[in-house]
């Protein structure tokens, strides 16, 4: 209906010239080598601190990749039209979950520094013994393998179907991807929830929260949508997706950022208020550590910076239609996700106050550079958007 109704994509798609990013790739590879190399040193020199630093970085990047996987599933399950043009980048980032599986290995190797319950022999603590059927090393390891097996198989299949559709435009791939997504959505919910419980909540085996999985998911979905805004804008600045992604798509992404800003606050507050009100020692210890001493400042920054600020700004319609401003806020939300993961993981080690260590930055650098390097490799292999998707024209001409 609009003036853009004549916009047709080139049938062969739009490809990134990998040679343009050759320098960037080498830089990321070097940074990754330096980061991971220093990581090995860190694990030798200060294993207690390093294991928490590594888990913090792992949680941050894992939630970003898993969130992009979630948005791919939502796209297929709801047959959404706006997200067709951004879907290939979601698939690319979701495929990085295979790399995250490798980054889980140090967590498993350093488990005795991270998870106190692994060092307590059975029969020494009754509170732990009743949780033994779930909290034991073999089951822990099995779950980690099952979760990542699912993540890797589902993301690879989704990306493979999508890329094959680029060649022949056969709509049956759309139906396959939709069926796969219907199966994957509940699987994703289970894997993310129990993954969050295993790797983050069990840092303190006394503590429990039934809302933990949803809380992690809320941060996951919101921050990965912010990441998508940044990735799409970077591609557009490099000269791609110019006639494909419009201000309307930014508006939708901004609306999703608003949605999950509110959802994160809703879940985070509900978890806090129920624990605060009931005032039971085994539940309050989590917030006692994080709301006292210097951790209090970071917790408050999280409340204001992750909710009140972005909420007020994203309420404005005009803001969501200005890509440059939306990018600034998206970067801010990513920083807040980083802070969220920091406040979740590190107080388990430094319960008496904030203690920033040099080792906190090394895993971030190593993991981030590795993921960026692999992402650039994936980016060049296919068209930057699914060019033969049956709904791609509809998506290009999308209007709110």
């Amino acid at each position: 209906m609009s003036d853009r109704s004549q916009a047709l994509p080139a049938p062969e798609g739009e490809f990134v010239e990998t040679s343009r990013f050759g320098g960037l790739s080498i830089l990321f590879a070097l940074l990754a080598l330096v980061g991971l190399g220093l990581g090995v040193v860190g694990a030798m020199v200060d294993p207690a601190q390093f294991s928490f630093s590594w888990l913090f970085a792992f949680a941050f990047f894992f939630t970003l990749c898993a969130g992009c996987f979630f948005w791919t599933l939502v796209h297929h399950a709801t047959d959404a039209d706006w997200s067709v043009v951004v879907r290939r980048q979601l698939e690319n980032i979701a495929s990085l979950l295979a790399v995250m599986a490798v980054f889980l290995v140090p967590v498993l190797l350093l488990r005795h520094h991270l998870y106190g319950w692994m060092n307590i022999p059975p029969g020494h603590e009754e509170a732990l013994d009743v949780k033994r059927p779930y909290l034991n090393w073999h089951f822990f390891l099995t779950r980690a393998i099952v979760f990542f097996a699912f993540f890797i198989i589902a993301t690879q299949l989704l990306r493979r179907f999508s890329v094959r559709q680029d060649k022949d435009g056969n709509p049956r791939f759309t139906f396959w991807m939709r069926k796969l997504s219907f199966i994957s959505l509940p699987m994703f919910a289970l894997c993310l929830t129990f993954g969050a419980c295993d790797w983050l909540m069990s840092l303190n085996y006394h503590w429990f929260s039934t809302m933990w999985g949803v809380y992690i998911f809320a941060g996951t979905a919101g921050s990965s949508m912010s990441l998508l805004v940044l990735v799409i804008t970077a591609l557009r600045n490099a000269g791609y997706l110019q006639d494909v992604v419009t201000v309307e798509h930014y508006h939708v992404m901004g609306k999703w950022m608003l949605t999950f800003t509110v959802f994160w606050a809703y879940i985070g507050f509900s978890q806090y208020m129920l624990i605060w009100y009931a005032n039971m020692p085994e539940e309050t210890q989590y917030f006692l550590v994080r709301n006292t001493e210097s951790w209090w400042a970071l917790s408050m920054l999280l409340v204001v910076g992750r909710f009140f600020g972005p909420f007020a700004i994203l309420l404005m319609q005009g803001f969501k239609k200005r890509p440059r401003r939306l990018c600034l806020l998206a970067a801010w939300i990513l920083c807040m996700q980083l802070l969220d993961m920091y406040v979740i993981v590190v107080p388990a080690l430094h319960g008496t106050g904030v203690h920033v260590s040099i080792w906190d930055f090394v895993p971030l650098l190593g993991m981030g550079a590795t993921l960026a390097f692999v992402y650039l490799r994936l980016l060049g292999r296919t068209s930057v958007f699914p060019v033969r998707d049956p709904r791609v024209i509809e998506s290009i001409n999308y209007q709110n």
């Binding site: 209906m1 507050f269 208020m273 009100y277 005032n279």
Partner: protein, 184 residues
């Protein structure tokens, strides 16, 4: 403006073949500078807001005011009694501002409630509702607007409205069954 038979003129109206034709006609009427006019279709047409030159609705501002009123109402009703008028220690919680987490649910609910009321009544007022009848129903063909008809009506109260200009404009945009609709 009256017709020779003595009826007050409500509008000059035309019917269009399709949503696309209506969309194109709307852009022409917008560019001709008319302000008091409307289009009618059995389903929402994407992009019609821009084609009609409607701009952003004022509804969101009204809803924001409603939400802020609700938030302040809740804050006053909660903090007033439990902090100043009748402080009581409940469940070992403090009774000053630090007990604000317990008040958040009420603040949230009243914000939502007042916003919803503001939205509901503002929509009614902005649409000129409730009313018993509308002059456009005086046109027989208009009953198809809920089925398969696409209509455009330029109202007589538009300062630019003249019978000849409106008719010519509707004709040139491909309007059919162009007619004068009476006010009563």
């Amino acid at each position: 403006m009256r017709t020779p038979s003595g009826h007050t003129v409500y509008a000059m109206a035309a019917e269009y073949e399709s949503a696309t034709a209506l969309y194109e006609a709307a852009k022409r009427v917008r560019d001709a500078g008319f302000k008091r006019w409307d289009v009618y279709s059995p389903f929402p047409i994407h992009g019609m807001d821009q084609a009609m030159g409607l701009g952003k609705s004022w509804l969101s501002a009204v809803v924001l005011c409603g939400g802020i009123t609700g938030l302040l109402t809740a804050a006053v009703l909660e903090f007033g009694p439990s902090w100043f008028i009748y402080p009581v220690i409940v469940h070992g919680k403090p009774f000053d501002w630090r007990t604000v987490p317990a008040f958040f649910p009420i603040m949230f609910e009243l914000t939502v409630l007042f916003s919803a009321f503001a939205a509901f009544f503002a929509v009614l007022i902005m649409n000129g509702l409730p009313r018993w009848n509308h002059p456009i129903f005086n046109w027989d063909r208009f009953s198809r607007a809920t089925n398969d008809g696409f209509f455009l009506a330029i109202e007589a109260r538009d300062p630019r409205f003249t019978e000849i200009e409106a008719r010519e404009l509707l004709e040139s945009t491909g309007g059919q069954h162009i007619t004068i609709v009476h006010e009563d």
